[in-house]
């Protein structure tokens, strides 16, 4: 018995064929994962299922839902099917919710538009649904605006909106990609619990997510189906090259990373604090008295969830935001707080690579001017040969010299950004989520490039990231931040194998196990508290399973033990080496 049957689905945008003859079936209650790199056509396939491809797209083939043909169906027919038979959860819940409607109204509209309920019954069903997705105090939250909710809560609301009309199949397009790893684990568990007999079509680039969630998987490559089958078989013994490439690019949390090394210190933050002014005269402490030392030629990673202050700390070190207290010491000298007061040579010694490579390149400039700019600013313009050499160092040839940013792929653009950062011969490179926006295989090559440059030039790298598996591959030492505080700092291999702070343990447990292996991510309950009103005592205690009275009363200082340090009162007595309890 099949619920959804897709045959020869083809989507064209002008002359470009983005989905090319895709066939698959979904049985009632089944979970099918669609994986592939960006541009493989997986999102276009999902949009075609709901008749949501842009008007200019040409959709052909056949999509049958319960025997009803959806390709070429009129808008009223599709309207009747959407939400009640097939529903969708989008990647970015902030964009998918209407900012001018209270969330209760948005959910109620789904029911009333389809004539499923009216009046008081609608209200009751909405509250019940919000309760089911785990929104605290749902009777009051129906009146909340989307912007009042956190990202995780918004995604819960999106799932509630998708499931409220009890569709037969739920299409989820990268539902957890915009979320932190601990929130991702919560949402995945929620999807699993709620959908019961609803079929799930899960579209994602994250193979670990699919492996834990779906019985069957379909691998897409350049618009075509590369491989399909039971998840365990496909990931255990892949037959298509595309699958193997995807699997090879999955960074593994359990593969040993580079060993910590002994070297003299180069750049240090000493008691660095950053405060932002918030409404009503309150101060928001984004970073609280951070101490950190980057050694020559090493990679120090700072990890944490969004709002942990990791990016702010990096920007304060660079002088892009002015710290409220503390100093930055570079090569034995205290640096000015503000970038404008720092000498040109020290400015050029500290370089930054951003997350979004497209946004960090001026769209009006050619690659040669972009790469040459730091030298031009310094009044020492680079010669054509030097620019070519700088591009060659990041693996780009001379054909790229005259291109504009929009003519580059994500990986190429990030290489250009790295070349621009390196042409000034810096001693420290700060990478702010520099590989987070890249596809798996591209990310692997960019990481390899960074390691190669480090080995060749002795560059020290401050690597800001939220993806722990990526961090394990590249970092000699790792600092974990939570709510503006560094809670643990340890050599990479030690931190990943024997974490000593309960938060580090929880982060590691929230990562989905590698594809092809058993296990589920463990859920860390609760949310990151607002930095406007941090909890008293240890900032992590409200979510910590090991918290005791002393943790609530008194904030622990970070204490050194060997070459690592941890801010937990119970670090000595707890054994956190084994996870996923």
């Amino acid at each position: 018995m099949t619920l959804l049957s897709v045959r020869g689905l083809t989507v064209r945008h002008g002359n470009a064929v983005v989905v090319d003859g895709v066939d698959f079936d979904v049985a009632p209650g089944e979970a099918l994962g669609i994986v592939g790199e960006s541009g493989s056509g997986k999102t276009q396939t999902a949009l075609a299922l709901l008749g949501l491809t842009p008007g200019s797209a040409d959709v052909s083939g056949s999509i049958r839902l319960d025997g009803q043909e959806l390709v070429g169906a009129t808008e009223p027919v599709l309207d009747a099917v959407r939400a009640t038979r097939i529903a969708m959860v989008f990647q970015d819940p902030l964009q998918a919710l209407n900012p001018y409607l209270r969330i209760g109204a948005q959910l109620g509209h789904v029911l009333e538009a389809h004539g499923l309920s009216t009046g008081r019954e609608t209200g009751e069903r909405v509250v019940a649904m919000l309760d089911a997705v785990g929104l605290p105090d749902p009777a009051r939250q129906v009146l909340a605006w989307p912007h009042e909710l956190s990202g995780g809560m918004r995604q819960r609301v999106m799932i509630a909106a998708a499931l409220i009309a009890e569709p037969a199949i739920l299409v989820a397009d990268e539902p957890t990609t915009a979320l932190d790893v601990t929130v991702q684990a919560q949402i995945l568990a929620l999807l699993d619990r709620l959908r019961r007999d609803t079929a799930l079509l899960l579209i994602t680039h994250d193979l670990g997510v699919v492996a834990g969630q779906c019985e069957r998987v379909l691998v897409m490559d350049r618009g075509r189906v590369a491989e399909t089958g039971a998840t365990r078989d496909v990931f255990g013994a892949p037959s298509a090259n595309a699958t193997r490439a995807l699997l090879d690019a999955v960074p593994r949390l359990d593969a040993p990373g580079p060993a910590a090394r002994d070297a003299p210190g180069l750049l240090a933050a000493e008691g660095l604090s950053v405060r932002y002014r918030a409404r009503r005269g309150k101060a928001l402490a984004a970073v609280k008295s951070a101490d950190l030392e980057l050694k020559e030629g090493e990679t120090l990673a700072i990890v944490g969830e969004s709002g942990s202050g990791k990016s702010t700390l990096a920007r304060a070190i660079l002088g892009l935001v002015s710290p409220a207290a503390g100093t930055v010491v570079y090569a034995g000298q205290a640096l000015a707080r503000d970038l404008v007061d720092r000498a040109g040579t020290t400015r050029r010694d500290l370089q930054l690579v951003f997350q979004d490579p497209a946004a960090s390149l001026d769209p009006q400039m050619r690659v040669s001017s972009i790469v040459g700019e730091p030298r031009a600013i310094a009044g020492n313009p680079a010669t054509a040969g030097e620019i070519t050499a700088a591009l060659a160092d990041v693996g780009l040839d001379t054909t790229f010299l005259d291109r504009y940013a929009h003519q580059l792929s994500g990986g190429q653009a990030q290489r250009v950004a790295i070349a621009r950062a390196l042409i000034a011969r810096p001693t420290v490179l700060v990478c702010d989520e520099a590989v987070a926006a890249l596809d798996g295989t591209v990310r692997t090559t960019v990481l390899a490039l960074l390691r190669e440059i480090q080995a060749r030039t002795g560059l020290a790298i401050l690597f800001i990231a939220h993806d722990l598996a990526v961090v394990r591959q590249i970092a000699h030492r790792v600092a974990v931040m939570y709510l503006g505080e560094i809670v643990e700092l340890a050599p990479g291999n030690e931190l990943f194998e024997r974490p000593r702070h309960p938060y580090t343990r929880a982060l590691l447990d929230a990562v989905p196990p590698p594809p092809g292996e058993a296990g589920r991510p463990a859920v860390l309950p609760g949310e990151v508290p607002s930095p406007l009103s941090p909890p008293p005592g240890c900032v992590f205690h409200p979510r910590c399973r090991y918290a005791e009275d002393g943790c609530r009363a008194e904030a622990p200082a970070r204490r050194a033990a060997g070459n690592s340090s941890v801010a937990c009162r119970r670090a000595e007595e707890l054994d956190l080496a084994r996870g996923r309890a």
């Binding site: 200019s56 769209p363 700019e373």
Partner: protein, 278 residues
């Protein structure tokens, strides 16, 4: 409508309006040379003559017997010059002022934009009449007057765009390398403003033409024997019943000119929008 088709349609309209503009410019420059008549020579033997092929009075003559064909061409010259110079004034002042206010931010920005708000609040016609009365009418003042209102809009638009650009990461990257404010404005902000400025410019040109025509119609613009399309329309309105061509011909040309600029502006805006969204 598919995106490529929309672009094609935009390009077609763009080339159509560009061709119209070139045609008007050629007409305005070439006719005074080609015609045997002089625009300023009066001939009381042939006043208010209807359009005729005789003696190349193709557009007829006015109430002083001057050839309307040549006068229309000369008027179009003046109108185009006023429009282009006024737009250039608004471009230079508006982009400079707006970009500096937007990039500086904070108190500088507040003070600079309150100046703009204050100027905005002044009744424009009153301002122009005052200028004309105090300094007597002349060409230069006309440019100043028209430029003086147009640059306010330009400055506001440019400031808004600059504030958005200032926070972009490529600007941060330049700042990290020690780039000065001047460097960032010249290398990153202004080039990235080009799209919106060009589009806005094509929309202010017709505005400047209209204002000039309006001032001339009120008798505050160019003076006899100089003329502009607005002056010709104003004079033609006096003879609407007896010699309608005096109004219809310069009026028609003015309308056509405005249409060309408006189309070019609209379509340019579409084209830039398409590029932005990709």
């Amino acid at each position: 409508m598919s995106a490529p088709a929309a672009t094609r349609e935009s390009r077609r309209r763009l080339s159509w309006s560009a061709a119209g503009l070139v045609l008007i410019a050629v007409f305005a420059i070439a006719v005074p040379f080609a015609s045997p008549n002089e625009g300023r020579t009066t001939n009381f033997d042939r006043i208010l003559e209807a359009p005729t092929s005789e003696n190349m009075h193709w557009f007829g003559t006015d109430d002083l017997g001057r050839d309307l064909l040549v006068r229309t061409a000369e008027g179009a010259q003046v109108t185009l010059i006023v429009a282009l110079v006024a737009s250039l004034v608004s471009l230079v002042i508006g982009v400079g002022y707006g970009a500096i206010a937007g990039y500086a931010g904070g108190r500088t920005d507040s003070v600079m934009m309150r100046v703009v708000d204050t100027l905005y609040a002044m009744p424009f016609i009153f301002f122009v009449i005052l200028l004309m009365v105090v300094f007597e009418r002349n060409f230069f003042l006309m440019f100043v007057a028209i430029g003086a209102i147009n640059w306010l809009d330009m400055a506001r638009i440019v400031r808004g765009q600059t504030i958005a650009l200032r926070e972009r990461e490529f600007v941060l990257a330049a700042r990290l390398n020690g780039a000065s404010g001047t460097w960032i404005l010249a290398r990153h902000i202004v080039p990235n403003l080009a799209g919106i400025v060009v589009v806005y410019l094509t929309l202010t040109i017709p505005q400047a033409i209209l204002v000039e025509s309006f001032l001339s119609f009120l008798g505050l613009g160019v003076q006899e024997p100089e003329t502009s399309l607005g002056t010709l329309v104003s004079a033609g309105a006096d003879h609407l019943e007896s010699a309608s061509w005096l109004l219809l011909i310069p009026g028609g040309l003015l309308a056509f000119l405005l249409l060309c600029f408006n189309f070019a502006g609209d379509r340019l805006r579409d084209t830039f929008d398409v590029r932005e969204s990709r």
